[in-house]
Symmetry: C2
């Protein structure tokens, strides 16, 4: 979610798009056709808003599968669940396309301050961390605020220490606090190792104050030793901080049982509503089927899977299928390396130019409040029509660019247009990547509002005669 350097190029095109406004409808036939699309879309939207289907799907996934980390038994169960559900929902061309995934095993995580004030701490290994020796690692804590501050500390002061990155994440509707803080999780371990640290602790990258540490992937640099790294729950980071404020050296003991096993197989699970007129043109909507190995992955990303499946089912239940094909893709292993996204882009390379629009729901289950689409000016009328259909859902049309979701990043290079239905993420990072990501954190009404939004956009994009492909050049934000 970090922003790219090419942002300054974007506004010009988008200001133009906004300034021109909707193009006038020129013939009676076009007007008639537009009314029909709009009417059907509005009916679909309202039916979706009243449908409990996404909730039922999410309840099923979290009850019958639970968490489903790439390569785990839960992952295999989830693939079987998704295939069975798609068939049960009447989607077509249901298949599981193979994806090779890494297999990292978390193992046990234990930490405690040893002196001057012994306390047990709740912590969790960062995804991909190496384990400690069997006897753990014991060292003094060195606290730094972030990556920049670490640079200022002489290597001699870091050597042999456990570096504690102690930066708080800000709560924001759009989740920008995550992008501001998460580089510590990704790059902190190698940055500390480069200066001689023996392990890394970070304050959890999350907004929750409950005692759930927050996991997520680290990225080791090639040229530095791989040292164990874990996140402390926020209240535990508070205690460690308070102990450090007393001025005496704080010694810490860390044990992580994490390790890698051999790569293994997972799958992208795909199902379709085949288009009546242009079946080879694709409107893609999806989420990722994998989760971290904590919680039941209700918000991340069971919700996105349920929203996509429910939206497709509601479209399939229309009197006739839309002109283009609706394709639901439940991606494998988003969390630990985007394996499914990469496999999809490779397997479907030849047909990417037929992807008219792609959308991914992967930000929990809060209400959608923003719609944006990265499409050329020629498609602006259609985008505006979609926006008008979304107004009753209290969704604003944002002329800014769309990002599309992590699993769509490899489609960007083929200029597949993407749309965003941005969710309210105010509370998302209270639960995200923690043991507390469970079904009770999902509001059924908000889930249905999401389905209504996705169904509306997907149907309209599949039914309209407007072509969206290709996306404007360079309007993608990098992840």
């Amino acid at each position: 979610m970090a922003t790219s350097g090419n942002r300054s190029i974007l506004p010009a095109a988008l200001v133009l798009w906004t300034a021109l406004g909707p193009a006038p409808i020129t013939t009676a036939a076009e007007a008639q056709r537009a009314a029909t699309i709009d009417e059907t879309a509005a009916e679909l939207r309202d039916r979706a808003l009243a449908s409990p289907l996404a909730w039922e799907l999410l309840e099923s996934l979290t009850t019958e599968v639970g968490h489903r980390f790439a390569g785990s038994a839960g992952d295999r169960a989830a693939v079987a669940w998704a295939v069975a559900k798609m068939e049960e929902l009447g989607l077509e061309n249901v298949r599981a396309e193979p994806v090779t995934v890494p297999q990292w095993v978390r193992g046990e995580a234990r930490g405690r301050t040893l002196s001057p004030y012994p306390q047990e701490m709740k912590l969790i290994a960062l995804g991909g961390s190496v384990g400690t020796p069997e006897t753990g690692i014991e060292a003094e804590i060195l606290e730094v605020a972030g990556l920049e501050e670490l640079v200022e500390v002489p290597d001699a002061e870091v050597a042999g220490k456990i570096v504690f990155f102690n930066r708080r994440m800000e709560r924001r509707q759009d989740g920008r606090g995550y992008g501001q803080t998460v580089p510590i999780r990704g790059r902190g371990p190698s940055a500390a190792a480069a200066k001689g640290a023996v392990a890394v602790l970070i304050r959890s990258v999350g907004t929750g104050t409950h005692r759930f540490p927050h996991t997520g992937a680290l990225r080791y640099a090639e040229d530095t030793p791989r040292i164990p790294a874990a996140a402390l729950a926020v209240p535990d980071a508070d205690v460690l901080e308070a102990q450090l404020r007393r001025g005496q050296p704080v010694r810490f003991h860390l044990y992580l049982g994490s390790r890698y096993l051999a790569n293994t197989q997972s799958a992208n699970v795909i199902g379709e509503v085949v288009g009546r007129d242009k079946p080879g043109e694709i409107v893609l909507l999806g989420g990722h089927l994998d989760s971290w190995d904590v919680g039941t992955g209700a918000l991340d990303d069971g919700a996105g899977c349920a929203i996509s499946l429910a939206a497709a089912k509601l479209i399939a239940a229309l009197d006739r299928p839309p002109r283009r094909t609706i394709r639901v893709v439940l991606f494998a292993n988003e969390e630990f390396g985007l394996s499914g996204a990469e496999a999809y882009a490779q397997a479907h390379q030849a047909e990417l130019t037929t992807h008219q629009l792609a959308m991914e729901s992967d930000f929990g289950a809060g209400n959608v409040w923003r719609f944006a689409a990265s499409v050329e000016p020629a498609a602006r009328t259609a985008a505006q029509s979609i926006a008008t259909l979304l107004e009753p859902l209290e969704i604003a049309f944002d002329a800014g660019p769309a990002w599309g979701g992590a699993d769509l990043r490899y489609l960007h290079t083929s200029r597949v247009p993407v749309a965003d239905l941005t969710q309210d993420g105010t509370y998302y990072f209270d639960y995200h990547h923690t043991e507390d990501d469970t079904l009770d954190k999902v509001a059924p009404d908000a889930l249905a509002q999401n389905v209504a939004a996705y169904a509306t956009v997907a149907f309209y994009a599949a039914e309209t005669e407007t072509s969206f492909f290709p996306a404007p050049a360079r309007t993608q934000r990098e992840r």
Copy 2:
């Protein structure tokens, strides 16, 4: 917190007390004296409201000690902490009076559904539970709503099963939902064992929806086998319930590493502000120093200890001590058998008739909203005067009886009068007895309001010429 059967006797006396109203003040000297007490009390109250002392004490306890389960290393550290703090605060006659405590060790707890839908579950051993065999216990789940419903199930259906008590606790300001649900925790294990169950699971007795199971003591009956018993976190109980609703038998695997070690030593830690006029008459205020072995015991009952210590310190800082002695008692082992309460009553049996009033803060750190006192009608003027002093703190005077707190139960038989400063417990059971009971759950302003209330009542009771002892007969509710 269960109510006794003698409740119907109480209202008559209390209605009388209320109806009579404050007795008139009869002489100028008495009026002058009353004004002085009231003025001093009001100043004390307002100083307490602005004081960060209780917060500082609680931060110190949770940072430097953490949890402090009876008999643990943390318990010993807490006793040392309390003695040092009382001396630092300038309390007098500081001592640690020995208390023998049981020593139960929780060990590891693991649970998972095996079929038809394998999932790991967050659970915690109930306090005092026996462990399972090293290989755990595997059995089918039998769900019942509560103790009454279990009675209706034929023994043959219970035999060999893991009984799952699945009752939800209601959220209430006064915490009454706890009293309605907690008998399952206390008596459920033996009730199930009597019918042949091999283990017990309960839905956590708590209002939180976070994934923290709730511990607390069970009570094995003498005449039934002792079977392992654990509480599932609320979201995990939801999943188990949802799995059971699908109609197939659910098999479960439970491992508990719990065991008893030999009894060991702890202490009640006591400090005083010695009275200037009647040093042998005692106004007792306290909390319990022990906690469960989860969280840092910030709410239960670090807050009560901090409130008591801060109130005593603020009274000690007055120009002169009050007429009677203020005694702070930080009780040992409230949670796992009231050992400290019993030891105090025994050690101080001879002087219990000199205890003018006793109060315990043990319901978290919410704002005080109710004041009640179990005193004879002769003391009603004093009680009313105290109530008037508490009005600016938004505390209502309740003519109903006072309970006094669990650690005061042995004082009841000696008719020691008790007062209640009832806290808002709306959110208390979101954290109580869980890993999430940490300092960040305490609001500094509410903590200071508590100190103001305790300081006011304790000072007034210690300064007034009114005698409170003995309490009216039979006005104590049983726990």
